[in-house]
Subunit: 141 residues, 2 copies
């Protein structure tokens, strides 16, 4: 029926290149990160350090949760805290040579996964939308 | 290799039942909607009317964009505006009998799709995570 084999296709061919991946820096204040997320329209983006090494993921949720004070929404915390204070650093990454099958397992739990080289520099991201398009093209072109 | 055929599997079997789908009402103020989204941890949820009919989707983005005033973050707008003022109403829906193939096409552009009956009442949602799990189980159990 189909010799569709995700384990033989490397991520490299269909990943979103680092150049067009919106991201923030470890040291950015949360207010800046929220602005980036709002302007780009993404719910979560990678966090890089000054050498473009992947450090984690920051989401709108991480930031908005920080705003909810005891009684009401408190915007001041957004000036005080930084990306590195609230980001999620314990997230899986893959390399360009890894297969779509490996990406599939990760994308069940994460809406995107960062592609990094041997020095942990971000080369791109691979998203659920990309893998679903690949699957649709294989089965239903 | 595999007789995996998404067009023959109805959504019904693997959808997330309406009972456990977080949602908000048309008339809720945005502050309430933001609290629901923050507490549940979801970036977007369905919007229902008083008869449980599906009306649209509201996302954290819709609400956070509303907060960005001319000079700074203005929380007051969240008390003034309602869910129906900022939600996205022009979104596709499917029925219980629709196939995973039909869901796949929609899930390329939306992270979830609402399942409705003939009266537009929400019966559940079908998500990217669900379809990716189904695909993984078919190919890589
Ligand atoms: N500006 C836009 N135009 C058209 N559709 C849009 C869009 N923004 C979001 N979407 C749609 O909404 C889905 C979820 O976006 P979200 O921002 O939660 O989650 C995104 C975001 O966290 C991240 N992402 C995607 N592209 C990115 C980029 N260029 N830079 C940084 N992060 C990105 O990967 C996640 C999954 O993305 P995916 O494409 O699978 O899925 C996207 C896409 O189908
Ligand atoms: N509390 C939690 N526990 C574990 N993992 C979590 C989680 N919240 C989010 N995730 C993970 O993050 C993905 C994106 O969530 P998001 O809230 O942007 O996007 C969600 C959300 O907008 C909506 N959604 C999912 N379950 C829902 C529910 N029970 N009620 C209302 N909306 C739901 O469907 C979208 C896609 O969901 P999907 O499961 O494919 O994908 C989810 C899931 O893999």
């Amino acid at each position: 029926l189909s010799n569709f084999d995700l384990s033989s296709i490397p991520v490299k061919d269909s990943m979103i290149d680092a150049e067009i991946v919106a991201h923030v820096q470890l040291q950015n204040p949360l207010e800046h990160a929220l602005l980036v997320l709002t302007k780009t329209g993404y719910n979560a983006v990678p966090v890089l350090d000054l050498e473009s090494k992947f450090c984690g993921i920051i989401s709108k949720s991480n930031i908005v949760e920080e705003m909810f004070g005891i009684e009401q929404i408190e915007v001041s915390r957004l000036h005080e805290k930084k990306v590195e204070d609230v980001m999620e650093s314990d997230v899986p990454t893959i390399t360009e040579q890894d297969s779509l099958e490996k990406a599939l397992h990760i994308l069940i739990n994460y809406s995107f996964v960062c592609v990094v080289d041997e020095e942990e520099k971000m080369q791109g991201i691979y998203t659920r939308r990309e893998i679903l398009k690949q699957i649709r093209n294989e089965f239903y072109r």
